[in-house]
């Protein structure tokens, strides 16, 4: 089958959606499909640029390429699903969140003027029309599916995908907390740094990069965490697998996250996850005292969880093992089987 995987691309940015779509193309090819990635740059500001840039997708003709038909397209996140195709399948990573649950928060985009309020509603209307054209509608997590149903009335099947390929393994804990989340405000690394400030026995490694790195490094210095938190930036696959294998727990506490590969990566390394009650997608698989610890989004609670998991190695290992059982169930064979059925 000839399949186009559709991905909006913010130039120079790389995160979970990019990893997911790259691997989806690889996995489709590995199963004998003629798959390719179709990417269009996306800029969502200023003013109505969010609509006009989204509209670019509508002008694409993906019914065939080079004289041969494209049998199916897989749209992923806003605005790739604005594309038109008779076999448009949507595997929804997320909608344009600034028009929904982030509206009115510090992560929102639209101001209080009549024009900006209307612009937000036009984005919602665009979603409703474009997504209702899908021949199958999947969401990467129950959180994403729930948001979709609340905002548009459309019902999606929950279809998680495996995390990025790494040489996952499990090893003896070296006692540090690991975070591999992209460094932006929504991932709430501040909470982890504040937790470290509360408990001088805690140590952390942050193995990622992002626009918030400078601010977070300043915050760590300001709190006197030098030596107890290490910013390693983006690391190789081998190094990341090593960090997962040797940490005592993985911190993953974004606000109302869509899906969250972090917990899957932690579980494939048989490590427990610390997350928060408002984390969203990760709560699909992180269950308190079964696969990790789910605590209030407060520094003291996170500090307590990190210390407890470090000091209770047997329980931590049991949580990690239980998580691995869940993560092992999420395979590309199963996901692609459902996607194309």
């Amino acid at each position: 089958m000839r399949i186009a995987v559709l991905r909006p691309q913010v130039p120079f940015a790389r995160g979970g959606a990019e990893i997911f779509t790259d691997e989806l193309v690889d996995e489709l090819r590995a199963r004998g499909h003629d798959a390719d990635l179709v990417s269009v740059p996306f800029k969502w500001y200023p003013g109505t640029r969010v609509l006009t840039q989204a509209f670019l997708w509508r002008l694409l003709d993906l019914e065939e390429a080079d004289g041969r038909p494209i049998d199916l397209v897989v749209a992923t996140k806003f605005p790739s699903y604005v594309v038109r195709h008779p076999e448009k399948r949507v595997w929804l990573v997320h909608q344009f969140r600034q028009a929904y649950e982030l509206d009115g928060t510090e992560l929102g985009q639209f101001g209080p003027s009549a024009a900006e309020r209307a612009l937000r509603r036009e984005v919602q209307e665009l979603d409703r029309r474009a997504l209702s054209e899908a021949t199958r509608l999947f969401a990467t997590s129950a959180n994403v599916a729930g948001r979709l149903e609340r905002s548009t009335g459309l019902v999606a099947e929950v279809l998680p995908h495996p995390p990025q390929r790494l040489p996952y393994r499990s090893g003896r804990s070296a006692g540090f907390v690991l975070s591999a989340s992209r460094l932006d405000r929504a991932k709430r690394l501040d909470l982890l740094l504040e937790a470290l400030a509360l408990d001088p026995s805690l140590e952390a490694v942050i193995a990622s990069d992002g626009p918030d790195r400078g601010r977070l490094e300043d915050l760590a210095r300001g709190k006197g965490l030098n030596g107890r938190v290490r910013f390693e930036g983006r690391v190789s696959a081998e190094r990341l697998a090593e960090l997962y294998a040797t940490c005592s727990s993985v911190y993953y506490a974004p606000v109302d996250e869509d899906f969250g590969m972090g917990p899957y990566e932690a579980f494939l390394s048989a490590k427990p996850v610390i997350t928060t009650t408002d984390a969203g997608g990760p709560l699909d698989i992180v269950t308190d005292r079964r696969t990790g610890l789910v605590v209030a989004p407060e520094a003291a609670a996170i500090a307590g969880a990190a210390a407890w998991l470090r000091e209770h190695e047997t329980d931590a290992a049991a949580f990690g093992t239980a998580g691995k059982t869940l993560a092992d169930e999420v395979t590309w064979d199963r996901a692609i089987g459902r996607l194309l059925s």
């Binding site: 003013g47 109505t48 640029r49 609509l51 006009t52 509209f55 509508r58 002008l59 604005v82 038109r84 003027s113 009549a114 024009a115 900006e116 309020r117 209307a118 612009l119 937000r120 509603r121 036009e122 919602q124 209307e125 665009l126 029309r129 474009a130």
Partner: protein
């Protein structure tokens, strides 16, 4: 808004608290000449009752805005603000504007009392909604029926179809009224509520099911001789229970006591029935006329009876089915509750209505900017206005709602 007494006032009171979760809302009360300063949008709740909505139409004439159109037929409203204010010429002008010279002549016939009032005998043929549509920057309607009639009348502005909200289930005890089963009809007792047909159909059913009783709640309209009709049909015994105008709490209590609700209408002004919505809240099976908004109710919650020659036969069959099959009533009750808490959920309705108001308030500016941006980009690569490529772009914009 209350203390005004109308179904639309009840509707507004129900919706307002939820709407305020999304929007800053200021209420304009009767007598105000101008809307408050600095508002982005003025919203007018328009129905067909001149006593309740005449002043709102006056305000709309001064400052156009969004219209929540509760009825499509506004003949009674227009007559009230013209003939009712000794402005016969205004009525003639309205009739001519929408129905040409024939309309004007018919208007003369009404003014000269040579014809019966058209708003009573032929309102659906002469809806007189044109002036309101002409002043509306956008419409919110409750049904496909009203949306289609507005489009058919040439309205080109934005229309949002937003369901009527359902009231939360009240904590009331069902009134102690026997009936096996008890069938209820709520609202004015008159011809347009199809009370003659209902009485005749019920009389037939009761001959087979003497335990069945009919509860008629509402004021009897002038000229409608209910007692004589009951007597003629042999329903003047204990088969019928009557209550006149009642307070809201008593209304809920009586509605809760009924096993089946009947909500008939013809002609329809395009209205949504507040009592039918209340019946959904209570999980009551409905029998309705197959007209307007009523015909759009899902099949699972209502048996629909066509108006016409076989109306009494069909109505009797529907009542008989619900009298004889309690399991069907139970299925419909479950579906009714699901509809009330789903599609008609007040929070959901408020969110949709807020979306509609925000799009009406700022949508033109957004559309203009979007189209300007796209046009500039197209022109930049040599796509001329009117070319095949420009048409393709326009078509794609329309597909996703950006070219409306």
């Amino acid at each position: 808004m209350p203390p005004e007494t109308s179904g639309i006032a009840d509707y507004s009171a129900l919706l307002l608290p939820e709407l305020r979760r999304h929007l800053d809302v200021e209420i304009v009360k009767r007598g105000a000449k101008r809307p408050p300063r600095g508002v982005d949008l003025v919203v007018y709740q328009i129905g067909n009752n001149p006593d309740a909505h005449g002043w709102i139409l006056d305000a709309l004439r001064r400052v156009p805005g969004a219209v929540v159109l509760h009825d499509f037929v506004l003949h009674h409203l227009v007559a009230g603000v013209t003939i009712g204010r000794r402005d016969g010429h205004g009525y003639l002008d309205a009739m001519e504007r929408e129905h040409g010279v024939v309309g004007r002549l018919l208007g003369h016939g009404v003014l000269d009392k040579r014809l019966p009032p058209l708003w009573e005998v032929r309102p659906e043929e002469f809806p007189l909604a044109g002036e309101v549509l002409g002043l509306a920057r956008g419409l919110v309607v409750h049904s496909r029926h009203v949306e289609e009639r507005a489009r058919a009348a040439g309205y080109e502005g934005p229309i949002a179809r937003v369901s009527h909200p359902a009231w939360p289930e009240p904590h009331v005890e069902p009134a102690a009224i026997d009936g096996s089963p008890l069938i209820g009809s709520f609202g004015n007792v008159n011809i347009s509520k199809r009370i003659p047909q209902l009485l005749e159909a019920f009389a037939r059913v009761r001959r087979e099911h003497p335990g069945a009783r009919l509860l008629l709640v509402g004021a009897v309209s002038p000229g409608f001789d209910l007692d004589r009709r009951l007597q003629r049909l042999g329903l003047d015994g204990d088969g019928i229970i009557r209550e006149g105008h009642i307070e809201e709490r008593r209304l809920w209590s009586l509605m809760a006591a009924c096993d089946v609700h009947v909500s008939l209408r013809s002609p329809t002004m395009g209205e949504t029935s507040g009592t039918a919505i209340r019946a959904l809240t209570l999980g009551k099976p409905l029998v309705v006329s197959n007209v307007g908004w009523f015909s759009e109710l899902p099949e699972g919650v209502a048996l629909k009876v066509s108006v016409g020659d076989h109306e009494v036969d069909d109505l009797a069959a529907a009542l008989r089915l619900l009298v004889e099959r309690p399991e069907a009533r139970e299925r419909m009750a479950v579906a009714a509750r699901a509809l009330a808490t789903g599609e008609h959920n007040v929070a959901r309705v408020a969110e949709r209505q807020a979306a509609a108001f925000e799009r009406i308030a700022g949508g033109v500016a957004v559309a203009d900017e979007t189209l300007r941006d796209v046009s500039r980009a197209a022109a930049g690569v040599g796509i001329a206005s009117g070319s095949a490529e420009a048409s393709e772009i326009a078509r794609r914009l329309t597909e996703v709602g950006l070219g409306d």
